[in-house]
């Protein structure tokens, strides 16, 4: 039941959605990049994705964080691959949840591209794919946090229409402040949640109910 719920969004995980070519910094030959949604059953891709993020991002993430994102929103996780070597060279991990019960808020949790492949628009492509998928799923806005000193990331997101909504004091473990960036997509995003009708999305309600049922079942049979 849970499997169907989570996997029906995935078009064809094994087939790349998009293929692009560009010369790689270190190699003058044209490199083809393919983009695809994550196949939740592909453990090696998940491992590669974890390694990529772990090397790239300052914050350490436990397996629980990855599971939280990837199992619930595999359709919002994209992988960029070097088409020649099939090596995972970029990834984006996102989620989409109701915010204050009034708007559907996408969240870009992690974005990483291998150093040698940077500067070719791969991150931009991954972000676009993720946002487009969120829009299809009814997102009203997309949110993320980025370090105030990460000029490249800020430029990438702001060129897509993200706005800095808040500055978060010493948000990261490395003591840097963060900007909370929000991309308003629908009218619901530009109205205060107090003045919005609650979301009525049966799919969301159903998903929550499934989880709660399973949890209740486990708790009720637990004897410790």
């Amino acid at each position: 039941m849970g499997q169907r719920n989570h996997l029906h969004h995935i078009k064809s995980a094994s087939q790349p959605l998009i293929q692009e070519s560009f010369p790689l910094n270190e190699h003058p030959a044209m490199v083809q990049i393919s983009y695809s949604q994550l196949d939740i059953h592909n453990e090696s891709d998940i491992k590669a994705l974890q390694t990529l993020i772990s090397v790239d991002l300052s914050e350490p993430y436990s397996i629980y964080v990855y599971k939280f994102f990837l199992n619930q929103w595999p359709n919002l996780c994209y992988i960029a691959r070097d088409a020649e070597t099939s090596q995972v060279i970029g990834t984006i991990v996102s989620k989409l949840e109701p915010h204050k019960g009034t708007r559907s808020r996408g969240y870009i949790g992690m974005l990483a591209v291998k150093t040698a492949y940077r500067g070719q628009g791969i991150a931009k492509k991954l972000v676009r794919l993720s946002i487009e998928e969120m829009i299809k799923s009814g997102a009203d806005e997309v949110m993320l946090e980025t370090e105030v000193v990460n000029a490249a990331a800020i430029r990438l997101y702001e060129n897509m229409g993200f706005l800095r909504s808040k500055r978060l004091f010493r948000y990261y473990m490395n003591q840097h402040d963060a900007f909370r960036l929000i991309l308003p997509l629908t009218e619901r995003s530009v109205v205060r949640s107090t003045f919005l009708e609650p979301l009525k999305d049966p799919a969301d309600a159903g998903k929550l109910k499934d989880d709660m049922d399973l949890l209740t079942a486990n708790l009720s049979t637990s004897s410790f």
Binding site: G2, Q3, H6, I40, H41, S54, E59, P60, Y61, S62, I63, Y64, V65, K67, F68, N71, Q72, R128, I131, I135, V148, E158, N159, M160, G161, L163, R164, S165, K166, R167, L168, F169, R170, M173, Q175, D177, F179, I182, L183, P184, L185, S189, V190, V191, R192, T194, F195, D211, M212, L214, L215, N218, T221, S222, S223, F224
Partner: protein, 696 residues
């Protein structure tokens, strides 16, 4: 008694679908982020490898005076690296002496001073420098840490974000009386003076001990009463000035201290392995990141806090609080400030209660002689009491926003503004009821018509507008707006400033009307003239903001028409959506009405001044800015000596921005193909960053 749950766990786990996440309502993403994961090299503290020196570190070893100085200096500096957004486990508690002493204290039967030991076995040799002197340093340091952690728990600043008080489940000597620790420190000072009088290290160590001794008395300062008026402060500020001298002297020894040889193994990540630790692996933060500048800043902040002793009227407190928020402070000072300002007994500075203070602030500004405050009617009194109670609660929140870090200040103001909007509605209906039902007339002449003056409503509205204006300007300070948004944001804030000026002029007219009516009552005239002075001062401030904002707008319009600043084409959004998103914060505010995107477009489409007209307007604006700054500086320099220099520096930054905008802005003949803008902030006012045209 233990139960083996292995089989039960396996049986339960087998029922969980492989790709299913089970989310407990008691568990969220944040906790997941902090969950430890065995085998994960970034999260599993069990995988920390310790060196031989760390593993075999011996706290009972005899140490020389220089070694004890090195440990003491590094420990005191570690406190300030901790307070600079680090955790105790990688700073103070990573010191082996601190860890051992705390472990013995926490596991001791009685948790008293006797259990505060570095080692529990018999010492083979006389070890006074370690057992007595170093021990008193560690005791004093940990007592200070306990005070700081307590301030974080107190909620005046944000736990973790401002101060991380997590102490790995160790009690930081909370059960030991400060007087006992003070005696230990005093003994050490005497011992050092007697036995090491001519040793250079002795003086520095005594300075460290003196600072720790003073810190034990810090809470005394929080409770000092600062009454309104000419009553002398029952406290000698010289104590803090003396402490500052010691701290500055210690800072002067930094080169020498940095050359002292380090003791290997004395600081270790081992505590992260050994004790309860819910955090990922964290590298040690070097004590050398602190050069005692934070210490000096903190003590200077404390001295500056007492400048309020010269207060004579409510506006002094408001200026004092506003001034505090305008400058960065040590986190500890930010934590102490609200405790000093707003006491547990509900008073301001241990004197009048907040409600009395609020009433005197309103009366001192524009409500002098207002029927709302003077009426003897029981019903009016009751209604006013209810209203003032509601206002006091929100005013208290407003006062509590000023000590927050700059990011949080804006968020606090965003919440408060909605309450002030509701209060304005309540105030207006209350005053209209007073006028219509109880015939309490308080009128002014507005455009040839006699209209109710509504002083209560005006005060709330004026406060609300000042909060709204601050929210937008603080957005510039926090770098929240992109340059293509500058025009719409300055245009939005200009609308608010215009409304603020209107309300202040209305208040001014009301006071002048009252002055005319009471010209034969000298007592009233004096009070009303004081009110008028404050209003004129506020008018000067907002006129200056108005002119600077118009200056920015004129420049931005030129930059836009030259296509040096353009709105980008967005794949998922557009300018209108962005504009509406920015207006969202004030969406529910009834008065003043919020401008729409079409209003903004209309403004953008209006005729732009020619370059000659532009230059002439700029000159007019410069004149107005200078005049108003002069008015402000002359009144602020008479601010009863409270934070005068900071007030002047703050005001002068506006002048620097004015000059910066004029020098670096659009020039005739510039165009977007050749030029782009760079934002300059250093040396300018945060509300008015300067856009510099530079060649692409």
């Amino acid at each position: 008694m233990s139960t083996d749950i292995t089989q039960l766990l396996f049986a339960k786990a087998a029922k969980i679908p492989i790709d299913k996440v089970i989310k407990s309502p008691h568990f969220n993403l944040f906790e997941g982020t902090n969950a430890l994961e065995i085998g994960n090299a970034k999260l599993d503290t069990g995988s920390i490898t310790l060196t031989g020196e760390e593993l075999h570190f011996d706290c009972s070893q005899v140490r020389s005076l220089s070694e004890v100085l090195w440990i003491s200096d590094s420990l005191l500096r570690s406190v300030f690296t901790w307070l600079d957004n680090a955790s105790l486990s990688v700073t103070v508690l990573s010191n082996r002496y601190a860890e051992e002493l705390l472990m013995n204290y926490n596991t001791g039967k009685d948790k008293n001073l006797n259990s505060c030991l570095f080692y529990t076995s018999e010492s083979p040799t006389e070890n006074a420098l370690v057992d007595k002197v170093l021990r008193s340093v560690v005791l004093g340091t940990l007592a200070f840490c306990n005070l700081c952690a307590g301030l974080a728990h107190n909620g005046t600043v944000y736990e973790e974000e401002d101060i991380n008080p997590t102490a790995m489940n160790l009690d930081l000597l909370s059960l030991i009386d400060g007087a006992e620790i003070a005696r230990e420190i005093e003994w050490s000072i005497e011992y050092l003076k007697e036995n090491y009088e001519y040793h250079e290290d002795c003086d520095i160590l005594v300075q460290i001990l003196t600072i720790l001794l003073n810190f034990l008395d810090l809470t005394y300062f929080f409770g000092i009463k600062v009454a309104n008026g000419d009553k002398p402060l029952a406290f000698d500020i010289e104590i803090l000035k003396g402490l500052l001298k010691v701290c500055e002297s210690l800072r002067g020894q930094l080169d020498y201290l940095n050359k002292l040889p380090e003791i290997k193994g004395c600081y270790s990540m081992g505590i992260q392995k050994r004790l309860d630790n819910r955090a990922p692996i964290k590298a040690l933060v070097s004590y050398k990141q602190e050069d005692y500048t934070s210490l000096v800043t903190f003590v200077k902040d404390m001295i500056s806090m007492f400048e309020i002793q010269h207060r004579t009227e409510p506006s002094d407190v408001i200026n004092y609080v506003t001034n505090f928020s305008n400058y960065p402070h040590h986190v500890l000072s930010r934590a102490i400030f609200p405790i000093f300002l707003l006491r547990d007994d509900g008073s301001i500075l241990g004197s009048e209660n907040v409600k009395e203070f609020l009433v005197s602030e309103m009366v001192g500004f524009n409500c002098y002689g207002s029927g709302a405050f003077t009426s003897e009617n029981i019903i009016i009194k009751k209604k006013m009491d209810e209203f003032i109670n509601g206002l006091t609660m929100n005013y208290l929140e407003y006062l509590q926003s000023f000590n927050q870090n700059s990011c949080r200040q804006r968020q606090h103001l965003l919440k408060i503004v909605l309450s002030f909007d509701s209060l304005q509605v309540s105030a207006e209906s209350l005053e209209m009821e007073m006028e219509q039902t109880f015939l309490i007339k308080d009128n002014i002449n507005q455009n040839g018509h006699t209209v109710p003056a509504l002083p209560l409503t005006c005060w709330v509205y004026y406060k609300k507008l000042s909060i709204m204006i601050n929210i937008i300007f603080k957005g510039f300070h926090l770098q929240l707006y992109n340059t293509w948004e500058y025009l719409s944001m300055y245009w939005t804030v200009l609308n608010l400033i215009t409304n603020q000026l209107e309300i202040l002029q209305r208040i001014q007219k009301h006071i002048l009307t009252k002055l005319q009516a009471m010209k034969n009552h000298p007592q009233h005239v004096t009070k009303l003239r004081q009110s008028l002075g404050r209003v004129i001062n506020e008018l000067a401030y907002y006129r200056m903001l108005n002119s600077l904002t118009v200056l920015q707008i004129l420049n931005l319009r030129q930059l836009k028409s030259m296509k040096i600043i353009t709105v980008p084409e967005f794949p998922f959004s557009n300018e209108e959506k962005s504009f509406k998103f920015r207006q969202k914060s004030f969406k529910s505010i009834g008065v003043p009405p919020q401008p729409t995107f079409s209003d903004f477009q209309q403004f953008q489409g209006s005729k732009e001044p020619s370059f000659e007209e532009f230059k002439s307007q700029v000159n007019e604006l410069k004149k107005s800015i200078n005049e108003n700054i002069t008015t402000l500086l002359s009144s602020r320099s008479c601010n009863n000596g409270i934070n005068d220099k900071q007030c002047q520096d703050w005001t002068n930054l506006f002048k620097r921005s004015m000059v910066g905008i004029c020098l670096n802005g659009a020039k005739e003949g510039y165009n977007g193909q050749e030029y782009k803008v760079e934002v300059m902030r250093e040396g300018f006012h945060g509300f008015f960053p300067v856009l510099k045209c530079v060649k692409k």
